[in-house]
Each structure stands twice: as structure tokens, then as C-alpha cells.
């Protein structure tokens, strides 16, 4: 459980899903990340936290190639994301799935059609099989099958997120990005979503990169936590992070919410 302090040097090439070196992000004169190094290991769930404006979502977008960094390299499964932007990226896009904040489902399509989009785009499966696989994914995401034929506007926020997750899982990716998966869900819904992520991660052996603010999620789901502070990133397990003497990290984990979340997770671990 206890990892070395700087996750960056921990592992050899094959175990690393995402490798970031010397990343610099800049909007105008505002520097968001400077010399950021990060390794995400295969099969782990990494939670990314940080205050507002520290560039959590930007980091996610840089990894999936939606935003170009000012400097530095980002490799996903050994391929340089920035260099392969455009045509070559198709290979990578097949191997990752992204869940955006509110699901980002295509509003003109039903849930099943949404899930079928990547299947149509990246495989030559017959339509009947695509429909079957779409239903399997709907069920895997914990949605009732009746939701498959509904439009996003007919679903609740939690269901839209599950549907977005189903679409992200359509191609059986190795790596999945989640942007605030539990934001806007009630505590019961959020806990259920945490369970879902944990179960899927185990049964499909996913690597999960999760941007979140939800301390309960962090405690319940994540193997390691990456904290964005001072334009860098610090990666470690929650218990090790709590020992650090950085003001923001201390406030974050030792604030009333942090303590409560940790207590709950300890209780759950003790019980289970």
C-alpha cells in the first residue's frame, strides 16, 4: 500500500499507462503547470484534486489531446499524444474512454445510439451485434434497459452520467478518464457511482484517471491521489498525503469534510 513519495520514478515503462514529463501549461501570461511530472500506473485508480484554477480539468484535456501544452511530453501507452494528434490518434482514442462532467451525451440520439457511435466509428460490426453490445453496456453501467431507448433530456443527472460512462466503455478501453464523476449527485447516488467505478475497474481491469472534488470518492475508490499544488503535482496514497506539511493539502484533508470522509472509509474497511 505504501508507495514511495514521488510516484514518478517508481515503475518501468510497461507498467505505466500515462507518462507526463516537464509539462508546462500557459494561458497568456498565466502559468498553470510548470515542470509537472506524473506517472499513472496500469490498473490503478488515480484521483486528481486541487483548488479551483489549479488546472485539473486542463490536465485531463491535455492528456486526451484536446488542449496542447506549452511544453513537455505526454505519453499514453508509450505514444506521444501531442505528436500523434490528428490521424494517428485514432489508435489511442480506441484505447481510452472519457466521461465528461454532465455525460456530454449527444442530445439528438437515444442512449443506445450514443453508445453505438464509437462502435460504428471504430469497428465494422453488424448493426444487430452493435445493438446487443450497446444493451450490454447499458446494463454494465447500472442503468435499467428501458433507459436505452430514452433521450438524454429524459434522464436524470445521475442516469446521464451512467449513460456517459456506458459510452466511454463502449470499445472496452484500457484507460478511462472521469471528470468530476460524482459532482451534482446526491450522496446515495454518488456512493453508488463510486461502487460502479470500483467494480468496473476490477472486472474490466481499467486504469482510471479521475478528476474529483469528492473526498468520499477519493477515500472509497482511489488507489493513489495526485494533488495539484504550486503548479506541480504530488502523488501518493491518502494516508501519506495526510502526513505532508503543505498548507493547502493540510487544509484539504484535515478540514472537517476530509476527516469525516476518512472516518467513513475506515469504518467501511473495518466492516468489510
Amino acid at each position: 500500500m505504501v508507495d514511495d513519495l514521488k510516484g514518478a520514478h517508481a515503475s518501468d515503462g510497461n507498467d505505466v499507462a500515462i507518462r507526463i514529463r516537464g509539462l508546462r501549461t500557459q494561458f497568456g501570461r498565466q502559468v498553470i503547470h510548470d515542470g509537472l511530472d506524473l506517472d499513472v500506473r496500469r490498473g490503478e485508480v488515480l484521483g486528481v484534486v486541487g483548488g479551483s484554477g489549479t488546472g485539473k480539468s486542463v490536465l485531463l484535456k491535455e492528456i486526451i489531446g484536446l488542449v496542447r501544452p506549452a511544453a513537455g511530453t505526454i505519453e499514453v501507452f508509450g505514444e506521444n499524444v501531442a505528436a500523434t494528434a490528428g490521424e494517428g490518434q485514432n489508435g489511442l482514442q480506441r484505447r481510452w474512454g472519457v466521461l465528461f462532467q454532465d455525460g456530454a451525451l449527444f442530445s439528438s440520439m437515444t442512449v443506445a445510439e450514443n453508445i453505438a457511435v464509437p462502435l460504428h466509428e471504430h469497428s465494422d460490426l453488424p448493426p444487430a451485434l452493435i445493438a446487443e453490445i450497446a444493451r450490454i453496456k447499458v446494463a454494465m453501467a447500472g442503468l435499467p434497459l428501458s433507459a436505452a431507448d430514452k433521450y438524454p433530456s429524459e434522464l436524470s443527472g445521475g442516469m446521464r452520467k451512467r449513460a456517459g460512462l456506458a459510452r466511454a466503455l463502449a470499445l472496452d478501453p484500457d484507460l478511462i478518464f472521469l471528470d468530476e464523476p460524482t459532482a451534482g449527485l446526491d450522496p446515495i447516488g454518488a456512493a453508488a457511482f463510486d461502487d460502479l467505478i470500483r467494480n468496473l475497474q476490477r472486472s474490466l481491469d481499467l486504469t482510471v484517471f479521475m478528476v474529483t472534488h469528492d473526498l468520499d470518492s477519493l477515500a472509497a475508490v482511489c488507489d493513489r491521489i495526485a494533488v495539484l499544488v504550486d503548479r506541480h503535482i504530488i502523488v501518493d496514497t491518502m494516508e501519506n498525503l495526510m502526513k505532508l506539511d503543505h498548507p493547502w493539502i493540510r487544509d484539504y484533508f484535515h478540514g472537517p469534510r476530509g476527516r469525516a470522509a476518512l472516518k467513513t472509509s475506515e469504518r467501511i474497511e473495518a466492516a468489510g
Binding site: S123, A128, L129, E132, D172, L204, D205
Partner: protein, 387 residues
């Protein structure tokens, strides 16, 4: 861990299977990558698999399977389920731990959807949709008339108590719908005047009656074209903007917030817009009339050798001021209609941003439609009254 990593390592050994038949049992040896890349071919072969009726037992041997994903697991499970449905005993062996877990996971999911709803014949569907659209239209018309009534009441109340009118908002909308529309209205009116003069003169020249192009221009622009064109431009520009603005506020729940604060959305949002448009549209029409006539006069001057002076003299003698008033009288009515439809559609927006776009389109189409219908009504009315 294992099955994914294998998939990554050996990306391309196509999934395959052989059937080995003994008297009562069939063994399917599955091999290679049972992944989404090969699922299409495997699906076709599995669907075409014929199992002799004598076979009582089938065993699926996954020993050689190198990679398995959800699609592959689904194919294995579906094959097993279909065989079992025919009363054949199926057993699964040789699956690696993770593969077995995945197949069991897929098997445990509910996959039987309710049967596809039966589609009615296209003809019945067409009739049903026509009927639905007609009923919708009727309901919508009734609601719009209701909205009109409410708006008329509130307008009357504001006219009686002018202090209720929100002046800042009114001024803002006068600028947005009026001043900013001047360039586009001017340009289009000028061009209409030019085109009309040119086309008219082309015909009239055959009779040597070019000078009557002034009558043609004066009457058609003042009575119909000036006000109609301006109303259509304003419907496209401001009517759509009203729907989009109010619709966005609905999506943001600003309208709900207004109501909880004791503000009446109609007072705050609709009336200033309606009043602003009723002030600006007549002014714009007046401006459009002038510019269109100027366009026609310019064309006449350069192409028809009718000087500006001649044009003015002919205009004064031939075109009665009544034509001008016929056009102007329509302007506030059109303005009220455009504002009413724009705001009504905006207030109809539901929760999603998508409906803002849909209703904005509907608002423009509907207001232009109503403007033209009203114009026809006015024509009939003026004909009856002999104006």
C-alpha cells in the same frame, strides 16, 4: 489483469473456432482474440453455426483464447444461452480466471430488452403524425391567443400606470432592436428600391411609360414592401434574439428566480421588449421607405434618365399620403406580433439548451408567417374600407 494485457500484447491474432463433432456431443475450440475487432466475423459464423439435432451436449473450450473483451464475452454467452434454450447442455471450460469472471459478469446482466415496438405501416404513421401535428397546432394557437390576451391586459395596465414600465430595459431594447438594425434595414431597402425600379422600368419602357415607375415604386414601397421587408428583417433579427435571451434565462432558472423574488416575468421581460419593438419598428419602416424610394430614384436617375427633380414632382402628384399611412398603421401591429411570438416561444423553453435552438427557429418561422397573414388581413380590410 491478464486478459487485457494479453490483448495489448498480441493485437492481431483473429478470433477463431473449430467445431469437433462426435455422436452426441459437439466441442467448439475457441482460439485467438475474441475482441471487438474480430467480433463481426465471429458473430456471422456463430449465427450460421448449425448444430445437428442429435447433439445433446456442447462444450465450449476457451483454452486457446488469447484475449477476451466484453464483445467476445457477449458472443460466448449468447451462444451458450441460445443452445441452452434448445435444451442442449452447455459447458464452458479452459477459460482463464479473468475471462470466466467477465463472461459471468456479462451473463448476470439483464440483456433481454423488451421486444422492439411494432412499427405501424408508413401510411398510418403519416396519418397519425398529421393528426398529431394538427392537434398540436390547434392547441398552440389557443395558447398563443391566451398569451395575447394576457399581454393585452398587462399592456393596458402599464398604459394606465406608466410608472410600472421599466425605462432602462425599454431604452436598452430600443437600442438593440432599433438603432442596431438601421444599417441592415437601410441596405436591404435600398437594394429593394433599386431592383423594383429596374424591373418596373424594363416593363414600362415597352409602352414608353417609364415615368410611371415612380407610381409603381411609391405605392408598392409605401403600402407593402417597406413595412413587410422591415418586419421580416426584424422578426429574423430581434424576434429570434428575444426567444434566445428569454430561453437562456429559463434554462438558467433566472425566470424561476424572478418569480420567487416577486417579479412578474411578463412585466420584466416581455413588456419592455414589446414596447421597444412597437416604438422602433414604425421608425425603421419610415426609414426603410425613405431609403427604398431613394434607391429607386437613384436607379431612375442613372438608368432611366428621370432626374431626382422629375422623380420628386411625379411622386408628389401621383402618390397620395394615404398610402404612407396604410403602410405605417401596420407597423406597430406587426411589432407587437413579433415581440409576442418571440417572448412566448422563449418562455416555452424547457430545461435543456437544445430546446432554445429549436424554439428560436420556431419563433422566427411563426412570426414571419403571422406577419404575412396579418398583412393579407390588412389588405382585405383596406379593400373593404376602400382605402
Amino acid at each position: 489483469m491478464t486478459h487485457r494485457n494479453l490483448a495489448a500484447a498480441n493485437g492481431n491474432s483473429p478470433g477463431d473456432f473449430d467445431a469437433e463433432l462426435t455422436d452426441e456431443s459437439l466441442v467448439l475450440h475457441l482460439a485467438g482474440d475474441w475482441t471487438i475487432d474480430h467480433a463481426g466475423a465471429l458473430d456471422a459464423r456463430l449465427r450460421g453455426l448449425s448444430v445437428p439435432s442429435a447433439v445433446r451436449r456442447v462444450s465450449l473450450d476457451l483454452g486457446e483464447v488469447e484475449a477476451l473483451d466484453t464483445a467476445g464475452a457477449w458472443l460466448v454467452h449468447r451462444t451458450r444461452r441460445e443452445l441452452e434454450a434448445r435444451g442442449i447442455e452447455v459447458e464452458l471450460h479452459g477459460a482463464a480466471g479473468a475471462q470466466r469472471t467477465l463472461i459471468e459478469a456479462v451473463a448476470s446482466l439483464p440483456s433481454e430488452g423488451e421486444p422492439e415496438p411494432k412499427r405501424a405501416s408508413p401510411l398510418i404513421d403519416l396519418v397519425a403524425r398529421t393528426g398529431e401535428a394538427t392537434i398540436d397546432l390547434a392547441r398552440e394557437s389557443v395558447r398563443l391567443v391566451g398569451f395575447f390576451g394576457m399581454l393585452a391586459m398587462k399592456t393596458a395596465r402599464v398604459l394606465l400606470q406608466p410608472r410600472r414600465l421599466r425605462l432602462i430595459s425599454l431604452a436598452y431594447h430600443i437600442e438593440a432592436t432599433g438603432v442596431s438594425a438601421v444599417p441592415i434595414v437601410g441596405l436591404l431597402s435600398f437594394l429593394i428600391g433599386v431592383v423594383l425600379a429596374y424591373q418596373g422600368a424594363d416593363q414600362l419602357r415597352q409602352f414608353g411609360a417609364e415615368i410611371f415607375v415612380v407610381d409603381l415604386l411609391g405605392i408598392s414601397v409605401l403600402r407593402e414592401l417597406g413595412v413587410l421587408m422591415t418586419a421580416i428583417i426584424v422578426a429574423g433579427r430581434s424576434g429570434s434574439a428575444f426567444t434566445a435571451q428569454i430561453g437562456t434565462m429559463k434554462v438558467n432558472q433566472e425566470v424561476d428566480a424572478m418569480q420567487t423574488l416577486g417579479l412578474d416575468p411578463v412585466d420584466v421581460l416581455v413588456l419592455p421588449r414589446a414596447f421597444a419593438l412597437m416604438i422602433t419598428l414604425p421608425l425603421l419602416v419610415f426609414f426603410a421607405d425613405l431609403v427604398a424610394l431613394f434607391g429607386g430614384a437613384t436607379m431612375s436617375n442613372f438608368v432611366l434618365d428621370i432626374s431626382y427633380g422629375q422623380f420628386m414632382r411625379q411622386f408628389q402628384s401621383a402618390v397620395d399620403v394615404g398610402h404612407f399611412w396604410v403602410g405605417m398603421v401596420k407597423a406597430p401591429v406587426f411589432a407587437f406580433t413579433i415581440a409576442m411570438v418571440g417572448c412566448y416561444e422563449g418562455l416555452k423553453v424547457g430545461g435543456s439548451a437544445e430546446s432554445v435552438g429549436r424554439l428560436t427557429t420556431a419563433s422566427v418561422v411563426r412570426s414571419i408567417f403571422l406577419v404575412i397573414v396579418l398583412d393579407a388581413v390588412f389588405s382585405v380590410l383596406f379593400a373593404v374600407l376602400g382605402i
